[in-house]
């Protein structure tokens, strides 16, 4: 039977120091790896007879502006269908050099998902056959899902992130804290 510990041990045995860490929440393990080895890890997880993660359920990116040097995280959700087991891989990238190898040759489904990541976060998937925007207009010159683009109109002063539990502060005039 497949379990998180088995997958983790296998990966550590194969990649050693390049597996940076892991966390487990709600019965799903997320493994942090070296971004240089992302494709090798995906290939290993695909090929290994015991692991056989051959279905890519999802691929997306997350932006953590405060993690300097590791602002963007690309995350893969892999699935072993016969054994009904999910695993998540995470690779942190520098926002100034957001390069990571494409998985579109291994998983055809990664093609558009990577384009979506590029479109919204600017992740550069090296070797992707057609890395162009998928949702937004081609002329767009920024990556809108990054956290530096707040949802609200920048000129508005009556709304503040503080109201949503984080960041910023609300201007109460002379009563400001």
């Amino acid at each position: 039977m497949l379990n998180s510990k088995f997958v983790l041990d296998k990966l550590i045995e194969k990649f050693g120091e390049s597996v940076f860490g892991y966390e487990e929440q709600f019965d799903m393990m997320a493994i942090y790896g070296d971004k240089e080895l992302n494709l090798k890890m995906l290939q290993f997880l695909y090929d290994d007879e015991d692991l056989a993660f051959r279905f890519m359920t999802d691929l997306t990116a997350i932006h953590y502006p405060n993690n300097k040097g590791e602002e963007l995280v690309v995350t893969y959700l892999l699935y072993n269908m016969p054994k009904n087991f999910h695993i998540r891989l995470k690779f942190a990238l520098d926002i100034n050099k957001p390069d990571i190898y494409t998985a579109s040759k291994l998983h055809a489904t990664a093609n558009w998902l990577e384009r979506e990541c590029y479109d919204f976060y600017g992740v550069n998937f090296v070797g992707h056959p057609n890395l162009i925007r998928v949702m937004n207009v081609d002329e767009m010159d920024y990556f809108p899902m990054r956290k530096e683009f707040p949802l609200e109109d920048q000129t508005r002063t009556d709304k503040d992130d503080e109201m949503f539990g984080r960041g910023g502060h609300f201007n109460f005039g002379k009563f400001s804290v």
Partner: protein
């Protein structure tokens, strides 16, 4: 891909093209949504297809980063708007799992009823429109009365029809009324006969079979590589169903079959969807029976006891301090959510609808990603249609059950 025969022989290195470029969409009536396909055709045969998506992108993932969780529900409505309740309930289930709310049995069964009704209404649209696209209008006209009845059931339960915003985090905002039950029973009484009639019109219809069999087929290997889920994957012969693999809403207690096809073509997809409708009818009947078997307090509770997320009764808000406080906190979005992340999926009408929810301990999602089945399997479209006829491309698109809202998020 079939070998393409060139009819016109041009001199070597001729600059003249032997093929034509046409735009199928973005607002073509045959595409049932805002899809653009740039087709390179030789006569009526498609040499190359380039889909362009994103015409109705509305940045739901970005908007969700600033909304209290209960306000994300109306956004999910607008993903797959043919089966909005599944999206709503899928989101509620995600939040409930994340914050650890226990849902009473009755609420779970009520959700099963609603989700299966939504699945029927989605499959009804897909299959009857497939008929329209292949030239059979009658089935569509007959069967749409029953989609209307399903929408009336939604209306009775939550007040709206298309973008339902049905239920709440924690259960339902009110119990099903007598009228709602009467309508559900009416649906269960009348619909099987109509569905049988619909099948009689199509299943063995020579014209329909010749139009759909062998059209837009995909092998199980390619379907898996492209991340197909739902009826499209099952039509290719893989019995993957989230309701079975990762049961939610007590689906593990139900007895139902997962129909599979063999060739993954339009006809198999049609048959799989039809069979799923029969299974859904059976699931609704089982759910009603299970609700009838509930005893004591369980038999009446239609929502969980989750004061941080579930709005108190209006009369309590006006008369009780605590209810007023919770009401205010929920409405103003002042409920703190624990930090963490969760991927939760439900079996949407056209595939695995996943919610990847990340919280940093704030009051809204730090990141919310929707795994939209449409978006993922639409990229296989060029492979499905290249080498086929133009009219088959329309049928293939129709039978994939592409919903523009879900595709573009």
């Amino acid at each position: 891909m079939a070998e393409v025969k060139q009819n016109i022989k041009l001199p070597k290195d001729s600059l003249e093209k032997t093929t034509q470029t046409i735009n199928l969409g973005p607002t073509h009536p045959a595409t049932h949504g805002v899809f653009q396909n740039i087709l390179e055709i030789d006569g009526e045969r498609i040499m190359q297809a380039t889909p362009t998506v994103g015409y109705i992108h509305r940045a739901f993932e970005k908007i969700a980063e600033r909304k209290p969780l209960y306000q994300v529900t109306p956004l999910t409505d607008r993903l797959n708007y043919c089966s909005a309740p599944i999206n709503n309930i899928g989101w509620h289930l995600t939040v409930e799992k994340f914050v650890g709310i226990d849902i009473p049995a009755r609420a779970q069964y009520l959700r099963v009823i609603i989700m299966e009704l939504a699945r029927i209404s989605d499959h009804l649209i897909c299959n009857s429109i497939l008929g329209v696209d292949s030239g059979a209008f009658t089935g569509f006209l007959y069967i749409f009365q029953y989609r209307e009845l399903i929408y009336e059931i939604y209306e009775e339960i939550c007040g709206s029809r298309l973008t339902t915003n049905i239920g709440r985090i924690g259960g339902f905002e009110r119990d099903f009324s007598e009228t709602a039950w009467a309508k559900i029973n009416k649906f269960l009484d009348e619909f099987p006969r109509v569905l049988k009639e619909f099948e009689d019109l199509f299943n063995r219809n020579r014209i329909f079979i010749e139009r759909t069999q062998g059209v837009g087929g995909i092998s199980a290997e390619r379907a898996l590589a492209y991340g197909f889920t739902g009826p499209n994957l099952r039509a290719a012969g893989v019995d993957y169903d989230v309701r079975v693999q990762k049961p939610y809403c007590r689906y593990e207690e139900f007895d139902f079959k997962v129909p599979v096809g063999t060739t993954g073509d339009c006809y198999d997809r049609y048959l799989v969807r039809n069979e799923e409708m029969w299974q859904s009818i059976s699931l609704i009947k089982q759910a009603i029976q299970k609700i009838g078997e509930l005893k004591g307090e369980e038999a009446t509770k239609y929502h969980a006891d989750a004061p941080d997320f579930y709005l108190p009764l209006k009369k309590d808000v006006y008369t009780k301090m605590e209810a007023l406080i919770y009401h205010f906190k929920i409405i103003m979005g002042e409920v703190d959510i624990p930090a963490g992340e969760l991927y939760n999926a439900v079996e949407g009408a056209n595939g695995e609808l996943g919610y990847y929810f990340i919280s940093d301990g704030g009051r809204s999602a730090y990141r919310l990603h929707f795994r939209r089945p449409c978006f993922i399997y639409y990229q296989a479209y060029p492979e499905l249609v290249e080498g086929s006829m133009l009219s088959d491309a329309i049928l293939t698109m129709s039978s994939l059950n592409l919903i523009a809202g879900e595709l573009d998020a």
